[in-house]
């Protein structure tokens, strides 16, 4: 009541918190105080995100080769990019990579979340273990998966040989037809923890009386999962799709560790193409142009989803 009485007329978020502020801030309205508090963050965001993005866009209009002085080239880099078979290949690889990796990581995470929700107490350790993989650096994961896939003493080929499937053994990362799939499997392993947690949290928010009613009506676990848990956990699934898709578009470390974009560019995503052009071939402007294309792709994916998820927030 006391708070409501002191509410500022331009307070956007309900009761004013003016009496809780330090003395110097009490003279400010909620809006002014909000701007004041946000300013350091906005400055940091501007320096660490906005400025590099603007600089990257600017660089993309220059032809830069190594340490030679930049030459303004207009849209030359963009025109060359879209006639560069290697870039077009990297777009195709990125599409396959992002969609497949997102589909499987979310599907597996969602499935595990539904199974875990049947007995949350007993599956705590399991959930923590799966989520831990999400926290492991991709470089570390890459090193581990190199050991699994290596052609001579690799774990995977060893297991296949041990169970009599010797004809299936192969150089997983050296064969262009299996390399991308192998890297996706490794990537899904690192990413499945996030969908597991978001979907599990979503399932936990389903009202308990729905389950009670279902069980009273004689529903089995499978029916409960299909008709209650699956549809009502969709908010968590959507968040997981969104985050995993964005992560997969930006993925680099694991590809760098496992295949270096090869063999013969078969695992070269746009992110890796950007690295190759900028840091190995030393064409900074060309690399920047591919970065801008990737940025646009990320924005095309993320903006509609952000608007949909937050546009009607009160």
């Amino acid at each position: 009541m006391a708070l409501a009485e002191t509410a500022s007329p331009d307070g956007p978020i309900g009761p004013s918190t003016a009496r809780l502020r330090p003395a110097a801030l009490r003279q400010l309205s909620d809006t002014q105080a909000a701007w004041l508090l946000l300013t350091p963050l906005l400055l940091f965001f501007g320096v660490s995100v906005i400025y590099p993005v603007i600089e990257t866009i600017r660089l993309s209009f220059f032809e830069i080769r190594g340490l030679a002085p930049p030459k303004f080239d207009g849209f030359g880099n963009y025109i060359r990019l879209f006639s560069d078979a290697n870039f077009l290949n990297s777009m195709k690889v990125t599409l396959v990579w992002a969609l497949t990796a997102t589909f499987f990581s979310v599907l597996i995470g969602w499935g595990l979340a539904m199974l875990c929700s049947l007995n949350p107490q007993k599956t705590l350790v399991f959930r923590v273990m799966i989520f831990a993989a999400y926290g492991v650096s991709e470089a570390v994961s890459g090193f581990m998966w190199l050991g699994i896939y290596r052609p001579d003493y690799g774990l995977l080929n060893g297991i296949l040989e041990a169970i009599g499937l010797t004809n299936l053994t192969q150089p997983w990362l050296g064969n262009p037809s299996t390399a991308l799939g192998s890297v996706i499997v490794a990537y899904v392993w690192t990413q499945v923890g996030l969908p597991l947690m978001t979907c599990f949290a979503s399932i936990q928010s389903i009202p308990k009386n729905l389950f009670e009613a279902a069980y009273i009506d004689g529903a089995k676990s499978g029916s409960v999962m299909r008709h209650i848990i699956a549809p009502l956990s969709m908010p968590g699934v959507r968040v997981a799709i969104f985050i995993n898709l964005l992560n997969s578009l930006k993925a680099f470390d694991l590809i760098f560790m496992l295949t270096g974009g090869g063999p013969v560019r078969s695992t070269e995503t746009v992110g890796f193409f950007m690295y190759r052009e900028s840091m190995l071939n030393f064409k900074l402007g060309y690399g920047a142009a591919s970065t801008v294309i990737l940025l646009i792709a990320v924005l095309v994916v993320s903006i509609p989803l952000i608007l949909k998820r937050t546009g009607d927030a009160k």
Partner: protein, 428 residues
């Protein structure tokens, strides 16, 4: 009296000025001081070696403190070095191993010619003409080469040869005929790590033996074409080796990184030969605990009898002086130190060779001695081709050779050479 005083004063002032000048010049010659900043990207055993060299230099020059600027890079360090240089970092010296990068630095005006320093420090007496030629661009010398590697040396385990009952090959015919014996003994004759870059070594050695160093120099500079018969011949020889059972299947080669191949050849004996730089000596000694000359050895790339058998491929590391140098005296002193017997002794501990004439070859283990003899007695030296090619051509070159290994057919040779010629057109 006044006149006497003036004369005295003039004499005294003149004497003082001369003494001060002498003191200053003696001081700069004898006591170096200040900070020496070095762009140092070396890692692993070579990084440790550089640390030891720097410590030894600092011990000999107590007034100098070396600070390393370490570029953030994985794999090819040039990207990180460029970022450091373009970011405006002040440094005196740069460690460089890529002639193509040296050319880029010269074009950007970032390194200084060292001819005057060679003259005043007598470095020319410590470095043979062929080593000076390696760091010379046009008429000016831009580097001091402090270590080199014999890249024409094929590495093998002695017990693998015994197991297959063969001798290390001296000729191409012996090389090919040995593949059968090695395969029969359950050993892959050659481990080719084609995941990133090391597969190119075999092509380059074949090109050196069949076309020679002069042709490779012209190819690297864009004066010769990738569609020339010389390139086709080298690829045809490789095709012949592959058809003779030299290697794993193409996909396995593409899955191998250099360390797996080296382990296979020098540690487990699953493969017989590997072709790579001198750092394998360090790896075999320090990581596998093997004895050079007894457990493992090298043999020069076999003779092809095509007129180029006495030519050797080398890699080298040099020091460049940056245009932004602030402590030139200390920078020159460090460059000079790297050509001393003391520095060579430290390098020898790490299995590397110095090109300095001040070095007694007996300090080296038998494997380095052998490679030093091969290189110093070679008619011509050729730098590793991949490091001579401009950026995008260098990248495409290695990928094109991967494509060849996947399908070593005549059609692929056509496609690969045409693709490289196309990329080369826009690369110079």
């Amino acid at each position: 009296m006044l006149r006497m005083d003036t004369t005295k004063r003039t004499t005294l002032l003149g004497s003082a000025a001369v003494l001060l000048g002498l003191a200053c010049s003696a001081g700069s010659a004898l006591a170096l001081d200040g900070e020496l900043v070095m762009i140092n990207w070396l890692g692993g055993a070579q990084g440790e070696m550089m640390e030891k060299l720097q410590e030894d230099f600092e011990a000999k020059n107590p007034g100098v403190e070396i600070r390393n600027v370490i570029p953030q890079a994985s794999g090819d360090a040039r990207g990180g070095i460029r970022a450091v240089l373009m970011g405006g970092e002040q440094a005196d010296l740069l460690i460089n191993t890529w002639p193509a990068f040296r050319a880029e630095l010269i074009e950007a005006g970032m390194i200084l010619p060292l001819d005057a320093s060679y003259e005043s420090n007598g470095w020319g007496e410590k470095l043979g003409e062929s080593w000076q030629a390696l760091s010379t661009v046009g008429e000016e010398n831009y580097g001091v080469t402090y270590t080199f590697g014999d890249r024409s040396g094929i590495w093998y385990r002695t017990d693998t040869m015994a197991k297959a009952e063969i001798d290390p090959p001296a000729t191409y015919e012996e090389f090919l005929s040995g593949f059968g014996a090695l395969n029969a003994a359950g050993v892959t004759p050659i481990s080719v790590p084609a995941k990133v870059w090391a597969h190119a070594e075999w092509f380059e050695s074949l090109l050196l033996r069949t076309a020679g160093a002069d042709y490779m120099t012209r190819l690297a500079s864009g004066e010769a074409s990738w569609t020339d018969p010389e390139v086709r011949t080298a690829l045809s020889k490789w095709q012949e080796m592959l058809q003779s059972g030299c290697c794993d299947d193409g996909n396995t080669m593409l899955a191998l990184d250099w360390d797996i191949s080296v382990d296979a050849a020098l540690k487990t004996g699953d493969a017989a030969y590997v072709l790579m730089g001198m750092w394998l000596n360090t790896r075999a000694k320090q990581e596998y605990g093997e004895t050079p000359g007894e457990d493992f050895n090298i043999v020069q790339f076999p003779a092809f009898d095509m007129g180029h058998d006495r030519e050797s491929m080398v890699d080298a590391k040099e020091l460049n002086m940056l245009s932004a140098v602030e402590n030139r005296e200390a920078a020159e002193a460090f460059m000079g130190y790297m050509l001393t017997a003391d520095a060579a002794g430290i390098m020898a501990e790490y299995g590397l060779a110095s090109p300095s004439t001040e070095v007694d070859p007996s300090i080296y283990d038998p494997v380095i001695q052998k490679s030093v003899n091969e290189v110093t007695s070679a008619d011509k030296l050729q730098f590793v081709l991949g490091d001579l090619l401009p950026g995008d051509l260098g990248g495409e070159y290695r990928i094109a050779l991967q494509r060849f290994l996947q399908d070593p057919s005549d059609e692929t040779i056509d496609a690969v050479t045409q693709q490289l010629a196309l990329v080369a057109q826009g690369a110079y």
